[in-house]
């Protein structure tokens, strides 16, 4: 039973977080900031997610290439 629960948890961790928890955290933060900003201001907030991807993607690709070395 414990093993099944662990496998269930592992599946969701792998599905949502994946192999880089920092990227998952960054995306979560970006979405949270977008949500907060959209509620507090009328200014366009779409760029927050774009900026987050612009920062996180190099980190992710760098990590992938470093691991292959």
């Amino acid at each position: 039973m414990i093993g099944k629960l662990r496998a269930f948890g592992a599946f969701w961790y792998d599905f949502i977080v994946g192999d880089d928890w920092l990227v998952a955290l960054g995306v979560l933060l970006a979405l949270a900031i977008t949500y907060a900003a959209s509620r507090l201001t009328d200014a366009p907030v779409w760029w927050i997610v774009v900026a987050a991807v612009a920062i996180l993607l190099p980190h992710s690709v760098f990590r992938a290439t470093r691991h292959r070395r």
Binding site: L31, T34, V45, W46, I48, V49, P58, T65, R68
Partner: protein, 261 residues
């Protein structure tokens, strides 16, 4: 039928007239059913049996309690097939065609299912014969109370039909693109999937968080290529750095220098 014939000999007057007419009409119904069965077996008209199979699948998918047809339901559906198919295949038309069928049965007996069956058959047949738009069936109910309940049942049946059609389309497309897709390098495929996931994830994630994209849905047309170009640039950049910083490359460079000197 032979018992009926025997019975007729014992009748006279108006009773004989009524019984003879009923017998003739019954024979006609049997003939129409036989015609329908023959048509389903006829390989010259494959769309008829294909639509029939798909209709049965959709009925089962839309209503799990539908395990088999009742005799009057299947007889009603199959009897109607030749006349309906004759609109596509004129050679199937006969001079006896042009019936308006009234399906009478006790409440709760399964009339709606029989109607749904023939509507779904017609819907599948229409798709198979290439009909792109237009009406397939009109449904009217005598009581307003019935309208919603029956409409719901019909909607479920049609949704099940659409699901069956979608599965077929995906299967056919899958078979068609399997060979060319298998020739695409695995990493390129992963890269394309990653780009789509990031672009669509950005779009829907931001929208879900309350952001409004400039150009609305058309923003995706910019996001997807932009993410692809950015990712390609990053891959090129890090690959170059990785190549120059690799100890293996350093060894090769040293060996080459030693050889030249």
């Amino acid at each position: 039928m032979s018992q009926w014939t025997t019975k007729l000999t014992t009748l006279s007057g108006i009773e004989l007239e009524d019984a003879t007419r009923s017998r003739r009409e019954f024979e006609l119904e049997v003939q129409r059913f036989k015609r329908g069965l023959e048509l389903l077996k006829n390989p010259k008209f494959p769309a008829v049996s294909q639509a029939f199979l798909l209709m049965n699948k959709a009925m089962q998918r839309g209503n799990t309690s539908h395990e088999k047809w009742r005799l009057f339901q299947i007889a009603f559906i199959i009897s109607l097939l030749p006349e309906l198919a004759a609109r596509e295949y004129p050679e199937l038309a006969t001079q006896d065609d042009g019936f308006v069928d009234l399906l009478w049965f006790a409440a709760g007996g399964g009339k709606t299912e029989a109607f749904m069956g023939i509507i779904l058959w017609q819907a599948f047949f229409d798709r198979l014969r290439g009909k792109q738009f237009g009406n397939t069936a009109f449904v009217r109910f005598p009581l307003r109370l019935l309208t919603f309940q029956q409409l719901q049942r019909l909607a479920v049946a049609l949704a099940a039909a659409a699901a069956v059609a979608a599965v077929l389309v995906v299967a056919v497309v899958g078979m068609a693109v399997r060979a060319p897709l298998s020739r695409v390098p695995e990493n390129s495929m992963k890269f394309a999937v990653g780009v789509m996931l990031i672009a669509f994830g950005m779009f829907w994630g931001a929208e879900g968080a309350g952001a409004h994209w400039p150009l609305d849905d058309a923003a995706l047309l910019i996001l997807v290529p932009a993410v692809a170009l950015y990712a390609l640039a990053l891959v090129a950049l890090f690959r170059r750095r990785s190549a120059t910083a690799s100890p293996l490359n350093a060894d090769v460079a040293t060996t080459e220098r030693a050889t030249h000197s």
